[in-house]
Structures are given as C-alpha cells and as structure tokens.
C-alpha cells in the first residue's frame, strides 16, 4: 500500500485494525490510523462493498 499522511498532523498513517461498532456488534476492519490525532480512515472498497451494502441489506429488513 502507498504511504498516506495525515492532513492535520502531517504524520505517516499506520495500517491498523480499527475497532468499529454497529448497534452492539463490534468488529475489526483493517484501515489507516493517524498516531498523532487519531483520525481513522477506511478504504473506499471496504466502505462501498462491505459496510454500505451490508447496512442497506439490514436496513431494508427493518
């Protein structure tokens, strides 16, 4: 993966498993974390193909 730098802190972003929650469910997703300010980012692919799709499917059942 290329190097990414935090816009605010100018520090290099770390590849980390980020803690994410949906309702009471906790899961880890690989993403980018800034060691300075704690800003976290997910890849576009992850968001569109996994999170958004999954959320939509569940919301459709509500």
């Amino acid at each position: 993966m290329e190097d990414w730098y935090c816009y605010k802190c100018k520090q290099k972003m770390e590849n980390k498993d980020l803690v994410t929650t949906y309702m009471e469910i906790v899961r880890f997703i690989p993403g980018l974390l800034c060691p300075g300010c704690g800003a976290a980012f997910l890849t576009e692919k992850t968001v569109i193909e996994v999170i958004n799709k999954g959320e939509e499917e569940i919301e459709a059942k509500l």
């Binding site: 949906y22 309702m23 469910i25 899961r27 996994v50 999954g54 569940i58 919301e59 509500l62």
Partner: protein
C-alpha cells in the same frame, strides 16, 4: 387523577355511531374514553404504562398519497371506505379474501366464516380484485386470506394470476394444516411462486391449541413448518396472544423460532382483539397491550430480547404496532440490529427518509421473505469481520413484530385513517383492515358485502 393525552374520534360499541373520544391516563395506564348520547360511556384499556406511550410520540410520519381514491367522502370516517380522500395511509399490503370457508371452527377467529360454495370468487372475480388493487395502489404485496385459503384447490392458480399481473410478493395467511398433510399442494404453491406463509401459531403445546383452536394442532404445525423448509418457502409464525392462555409461552415461541431459522423468518404477535358478538365490555384483564408483550419478551428471554430493541411502526399512529430485527449469531444468541434510541436510519442522515414509509414496508416485506442461499464470500471465514456478520445477517435472521387489531372498543379513527393494510373486496373497494373486520358488541359488522351495514346510526 386523570390526564388527557389528546382528543380523537371513535365508534359506539352498540350502534357504531361516530362519537368523540379522549385518550386519558389513569393510574399510569392509558385508556380510550368515549361517550355515546344514546348508549352511554365506554372506557377501555389501550396501553399499560403511559411513559412508553409518550416516548413513542405521535407518529406523524407523512406517507405518500394513495394513487387513486375509489370512493368519495360523504358521511365521513369510517363510513366511506373505498378508500376515501381522507385516508392518509398508502397501501403497504393488501389482503384478499379468496374464500369464506374454513375447515376449522376456532373460537378466536377474527374472520367468521359463514358462506357456502356459491359465494366464492371465481378466477375472473379474483382478476377484478387484483385490478382494483392495481388501480388504487399499484402492485403492492398481497396476502391471500379468508376463511382458510388452502380449502381452494385452485389457490396456485390465484397466485399464478397475481404474479402474471405484476404482483411481486404474494403471501398466504393460513392455519397450515393442508401444508402439513398435502406436500403435493405445497409443492404447487411453491412452483407458482408463493413467497411467504403467514402461519397461525399460538404456542408450543397442545393445551394452548385446544383452547384457541379447539384441537390438538401442535404436531401438524411442526409438520407444516418442516414441509415448508423442504420446499424452501419462508414462514412467519403468527400467535394470537390471549392473557393467561399463551402469554406464558412468549419466550418459548421465540426459542422455538430461533431453532427453526432459516425457514422461520419472523414472529408476528397479534394481541387478542374482540370481534363478533361479545357480552358486555372486555375488562382490563382481557387485554394484552403492546408494552405487556414487550415486557414479557424481555423477561421470558432473560434479556436476550430487550424492550428498547423495539421501534414503533412508522405510521400515522405510532402506537399501532412494533418491530425489531435480529441476526442469529453463530453462538446461538440473537443480536439486535434495531434500537429505539437510534431508530433513525444511519443512511437517512438527520430525519430525511429516502422513500415513503409504505414503499419502505413494501420493500421490507419483499426483502424479508426471500429465501436466500448461504453462499461463501471473501472474508467470510474470518469470524471477526463485517463480511461474516453481514453474510450471516443475509440468511440467519428473525424479525419480531406485533400489531393489536382495533376492535369496536379500542378503535381510534385517527389510527384508522393511517392504516396501511387494506382489504380488497369484490365490490371494487379497498377497506382498511380494522374497519373491514370491525363489528359491534352484538356482532353486527360495520362493513358487510362492501357496504356499511344499514343498522349503523350516523351520528356526528
């Protein structure tokens, strides 16, 4: 000390005249209080626990208007149903009575069956009814009902016809006995694309069925579910809840349903309402209200199901019904995906709902009923990933919902005006569910053969 929560309109249980009514709080419970100039005062418990009632608020979800009104407003609600221009609930499901016959004689049935062979709509009349729905509301989900629809050997033809005419989702409301006994019939239903079985299911032991249905039916219900699993057609369990008869089995029903996922897709609780002839007024002890069901669910599942998982129906009157959605996790636990505090959809931003509530419910019904294959997906093998969770959610889920029908004591015309479940009749009308089945204390139906009964007094 009594406190008023608002004014509305209702009907006199004796003469079905329209009379003013108030929702009042007394000793922490909510009552509907009304007065008929001829027959006196009536007070009925509608909700135990006023705090939740207030929290659930007034609803006020604005639904899109119905495509076409089939009757004008003349005498005012509820005497002009068809639907009339005052109706504010777009159709989310239409009920079609395909027969008046039933081979059971259940004491608690809301649809009393008393017609013989000749009153049954033929296929051409069924087509007319489908057409009426298309004209008024477009191709919404349809629930075939009765009487007992499976007494008709040509039920598969009725379904095939609906599919041909553009109805994408057709459910069958049934006691399921024929589905248990006649696999070939079930197979035909599946072949023509029946989407979901709405299975009458009062409990997990025969003493319950003996009381509610007059026969020991549990084994047959199990067989029906087993056969539905074999033919891959989803089932919603529909218990009629009666105080002291089966409300002690609410938790058991949830546990039973869990064990039957994925053929069972949900449970839809129907707290008892009083139709047909009824001596006197049902007392508080005869009533099981929404908060009673939610509380009992939490207690009897030891917190696996919690009261705050439930969200009110998105209807004009938010106290009309409740629902929650769960994913059955690998460890056997029900994981909720709904929560009252966070009931706004994350996708919706700040209050903006992308589609009308009825469209949403229509899509929900369609989505929820699909019998989905458990297929492998990348990342799914990692139990800690979102992929695995969403994958699980696709196939192993359970919806828990409920709706108490209005009877002549509890009927609230404001709630009726927002009703989205419409019954189509042979007389080219759509009539809201609770208006259609409503009957006076002496058993006189408000609507009979598509018209308001001549016995009704029109008092404003």
């Amino acid at each position: 000390m009594e406190e008023s929560l608002g004014e509305t309109l209702s009907l006199c249980p004796q003469c079905l005249a329209r009379i003013p009514a108030r929702k009042v709080v007394e000793d922490g419970d909510v009552y509907l209080d009304k007065h008929c100039p001829v027959h006196g005062s009536f007070r009925t418990l509608i909700w135990r626990g006023d705090r939740l009632y207030r929290e659930w608020g007034s609803g006020e979800v604005n639904s899109k208007l119905i495509k076409r009104r089939l009757t004008p407003t003349v005498s005012g609600c509820p005497y002009d149903c068809g639907l009339c221009p005052n109706h504010k609930g777009e159709t989310c499901t239409t009920l079609m009575e395909v027969t008046g016959r039933c081979d059971m004689s259940c004491p608690v049935c809301f649809a009393s069956s008393n017609s013989n062979l000749k009153d049954e709509p033929g296929l051409s009349e069924v087509e007319e009814m489908y057409r009426t729905i298309l004209e008024a509301s477009g191709p919404c989900p349809v629930q075939l009902s009765g009487g007992e629809p499976t007494v008709r050997d040509d039920l598969p033809d009725i379904i095939a016809l609906g599919k041909e005419m553009g109805f994408k989702h057709i459910q069958i409301n049934t006691h399921g006995l024929r589905l248990a006994r006649d696999k070939e019939y079930l197979h035909r239903l599946r072949e023509v694309g029946a989407d979901l079985i709405y299975l009458q299911f009062d409990g997990i032991s025969n003493d319950v069925y003996r009381y509610t249905r007059g026969a020991n039916l549990f084994k047959l219900k199990l067989q029906a579910i087993e056969n539905c699993a074999e033919f891959r057609i989803g089932v919603i369990l529909v218990p009629t809840l009666i105080p002291n008869i089966n409300d002690h089995q609410i938790g058991d029903i949830v546990r039973f349903a869990k064990g039957q996922i994925p053929v069972v897709k949900g449970i839809h609780f129907q707290p008892i309402s009083y139709f047909g002839r009824y001596p006197g007024t049902p007392v508080n002890e005869d009533r099981i209200t929404i908060p009673d069901v939610l509380k009992t669910l939490e207690v009897q599942t030891e917190g696996e199901v919690k009261m705050n998982h439930f969200v009110p129906r998105r209807r004009k009157d938010s106290h009309c019904g409740f629902s929650a959605f769960y994913v059955l996790m690998e460890d056997g636990r029900l994981q909720s995906t709904t929560n009252f505090e966070r009931r706004q959809s994350p996708l919706a931003g700040s209050g903006f709902v992308k589609e009308s509530p009825a469209e949403h419910v229509r899509r929900f019904i369609h989505e929820r009923a699909k019998f989905v294959e458990s297929d492998a997906q990348e990342g799914e093998n990692n139990p800690g990933s979102w992929e695995s969770f969403f994958n699980r959610a696709r196939t192993h889920y359970l919806s828990i919902s409920g709706m108490p029908f209005q009877d002549v004591w509890t009927v609230d015309l404001e709630r009726l005006q927002g009703c989205c479940i419409h019954v189509v009749t042979q007389y080219k009308k759509l009539i809201p569910f609770c208006a259609f089945y409503l009957s006076s204390a002496s058993g006189e139906r408000l609507y009979y053969e598509g018209k308001v009964s001549s016995q009704v007094a029109y008092v404003s």
